[in-house]
């Protein structure tokens, strides 16, 4: 009785864990287990096949192990020598052939999916082309067909195939939107990678960098925003519109002199750092300060921009942006007003 209770207690944490896992399976916009697009679905399909096979294998091994360990335990006083069996050709052939069959069952769909996912969509006329460039620690998205660049928020029309071309500007990164597709590395030019996915449903999906790329690797997040075709067209037009600068001319000048040396808005500035056009309507600041007016997941965009500009290294250690007050000599007031301006720079 005591013993049963003890072993049950040992299982409690495991049961608790299973409970949590099965109740959640993670967020719809993030989890591999809740796919929102075709490539993620085919990956999950293979996973389900593999895990079914593997659970069968595990059950067999576990039951034999449990049986053997209980049944053949040496009892007190048991002193005879068991028969010394050399082996069994039949049995050994059996457990060579069965795994081989299981491997083939898994290998065939694997190979098929590898080639299906490896298809090159760059020549597809209906696909939207996007050039992804990884930077320490932000993502640049260029739409060569429309002549625009943006950062951190990848806006795509729902249901359309997106043909990606991926490179990096510095170290290796890996582009990953778990609920939409598996990951692919961004290598330097010369080893440019291509792949594609689509998001049938409108919504915002969380993306991550999956390759260690320096201190803020864990913070190199981005969002994929799938919108309707019309919204996408509007967004493209708004991106192309001339830059909106701060109303106060003095502040506008400061912004031009200091910020636009690296950043770009609309048709102005240099796009060495993230393009800031319409940053007020993005999902996050710096990828990780989530914009949320309800304050459940984050803070309003203006507050996030202030947090960021006052302490860039604190928010994202090791990033390459100079500190606005220490390195660029901006006053706290100027920083706040630039934050307010950027927060109000919304598209539409």
């Amino acid at each position: 009785m005591m013993r049963t209770w003890l072993s049950a207690r040992r299982l409690l944490p495991l049961i608790a864990v299973f409970g949590t896992v099965l109740a959640g399976c993670g967020r719809e916009d993030l989890s591999v287990l809740r796919p929102q697009g075709p490539p993620a679905e085919s990956s999950l399909g293979l996973m389900k096949l593999a895990i079914s096979i593997m659970i069968v294998v595990l059950l067999i091994v576990f039951s034999i192990a449990a049986y053997v360990l209980i049944r053949f335990r040496r009892k007190p006083g048991q002193d005879e020598i068991p028969e010394q069996i050399e082996g069994s050709f039949k049995l050994e052939v059996l457990w060579t052939v069965i795994p081989l069959i299981l491997v083939i069952v898994l290998a065939v769909p694997t190979v098929r999916t590898v080639f299906a996912l490896g298809e090159n969509h760059s020549g597809d006329k209906n696909a939207i082309k996007v050039k992804v460039t990884g930077h320490q620690y932000w993502w640049e998205f260029e739409y060569p067909d429309f002549g625009i660049k943006t950062a951190q928020d990848l806006v795509i029309p729902a249901g359309r195939n997106i043909a990606f071309e991926l490179t990096t500007n510095d170290v290796l990164h890996s582009f990953w939107v778990p609920s939409l597709s598996g990951k692919i590395d961004t290598n330097p030019t010369g080893a440019t990678n291509r792949f594609s996915f689509s998001a049938p449903k409108e919504g915002v999906y969380r993306g991550k960098c999956a390759e260690l790329c320096g201190p803020s690797h864990g913070f190199m997040e981005f969002k994929v925003k799938a919108v309707s075709n019309d919204e996408f067209k509007q967004w493209i037009e708004a991106q192309k519109a001339p830059a909106v600068l701060p109303e106060d001319p003095a502040l506008a000048q400061t912004f031009k002199d200091q910020c636009l040396k690296c950043h770009a808005v609309g048709d102005q500035g240099l796009a060495v750092g993230p393009n800031l056009t319409g940053i007020g309507s993005r999902e996050s600041v710096a990828g990780i300060l989530l914009n949320d007016d309800t304050r459940q997941d984050g803070a309003p965009v203006e507050e996030n921009l202030k947090t960021w500009l006052h302490d860039t290294q604190g928010v994202k250690p090791g990033n390459r942006m100079p500190d606005p007050s220490k390195d660029m000599g901006l006053t706290d007031d100027e920083i706040d007003r630039i934050a307010e301006y950027l927060a109000s720079y919304k598209l539409n």
Binding site: S31, L44, L58, G87, T110, W176, S179
Partner: protein, 612 residues
Amino acid sequence: MDWITTVDHKKIAILYLWAGGLFFGIGGIEALLIRWQLIKPMNDFVDAQTFNELITMHGTTMIFLGVMPIIFALMNAVIPLQIGARDVAFPFLNALGFWTFLFGGLLLNLSWVMGGAPDAGWTSYTPLSTSAYSGTHGVDFYTIGLQIAGLGTLIGGINFLATVITMRAPGMSYMRMPMFAWTTFITSAIILFAFPAITVGLVLLTFDRILGANFFEPGAGGSPVLWQHIFWIFGHPEVYILILPAFGIISEVIPTFARKRLFGYSSMVFATILIAFLGFMVWAHHMFTTGLGPVANALFAVSTMLIAVPTGIKIFNWLFTLWGGSVRFTTPNLFASGFIPTFTMGGVTGVMLASAPADFQFHDTYFVVAHFHYVIVGGLVMGLFAGLHYWWPKMFGRMLNETLGKWTFWTFIIGFHLTFFVQHFLGLMGMQRRVFTYLPNQHFDTLNLVSTIGAGLMGVGTLIFLTNIIVTSRKPPDAADDPWEDGRTLEWSIPSPPPEYNFKQTPLVRGLDALWKEKMAGNKGMTPAEPVGSIHMPSATPLPFIMSVGIFIAGFGFMFSRDDFGGGFVSFLFNNYIVTGLGLLITFGSMLLRSLVDDHGWHIEPEELEGR
């Protein structure tokens, strides 16, 4: 002093054990710090840079300086005894191998106090590991420290190859060799072919960093993907260098405590060779997301899945060794029995990872972290615990405490599953690996907390093991020649611990499980193959130690050769490679000495042998 000059394989085994144990402890502390940082979202226990140094050093230390030396400790302690030899083939080289490993390891760990540990991950992918993106000397410590330590491993591997090939007792054909001797032999062969790859890689990376070469610099025609190929051509076989000895240990422990011979011995040998062979064919499964294209991905996916077949043969053979046996659950056998299901779990996730399109999702996430910890900790470390408890009486002449041993097992295995089982789900839910923290509300919080609690429990298990060692070492030696009573192989036919010369008379081997065969025939011990005679022994020498110190100094000199020490004498010494030259002079001088001075060793005469 005796320990510095020794060339006796049994003492070198103990040196390997203490040094490996020390680094294992350091790696364990690093692991606990990592888990502590990840206990809750947005934790600021350590900063991002320190975290990356911790993960890099944890991986590097555990693999190269923790588990490999402990494997070498067991090989050194056991292999000559199991094959009926008086020492390894090259005792001097054996000592040299240990000392280069130790000084390489020390050099690597000095990085913690000398301005920055390596921070580019244990895989050191370029360009992150080039001087442009990793500005401290961290990666230099990695390249040069591992180079020196790797020298020791290569020397050790070659030595065991020669030992097993040439020094088996009369009658011990290959197919009569104990399984642990077989896996040691195959492991050494893998070392021989895999380590040159990492050696070359480390040289190229060192040249890039210190001499400004461009092997991996994309801007100058180099390729960062090249490093990945070189690294994994070494790195994947390395996994088998680690796990095959554990297979060997399990194949020794289970038959002993089941009182049965190993089921399907010849298929076990064949499976081992096949695993080693396939191990070299599958390196690119670490690179499915690199963009090698569907053809490469498909080929490497299928070849990787094939490894499941020989591994499955092993699992079922172990289970059927237990089947029909008379199984006794001593601590070593607890670990061995725990090994089977745990390692199987790591194995099946390995097959899942091999399915390339699924790996696009698994790769670089906590799913992979869970998988390789199931294999390396759940497999190898459990195997090492089994082996250490099993051979401890033979190495030290003292039985470890069984009660404490059982506590070690239960805390360790429960902690282990608690730590790593949940990580499978973390990965699938979108948590990438090597992140120093994570945002809240992603469903990562609870599972990370559970994982950290489990890690603490594993720490407790390790501490209980240490306590066991300390408690045991204070008691007088009590181990019989054959303390587990059902010993099957040659090492159990001689006293515990063995005398310096191991076998007074080389034994005659008349079958597999030589000692068991004699016992079943009613004999008290082995039948000797030779009359008692004068035994030749190699002389103790400090030269291996001095040679390693020389390499250590040369490494330092080379590493800091470009540094500005504020002018003056120190700069002069380093910048003109004088320190490097001095170090090399010590090493090559010692080599010259070794070549020129004839040392014929010494003899133990029969009178002395009988007098004991």
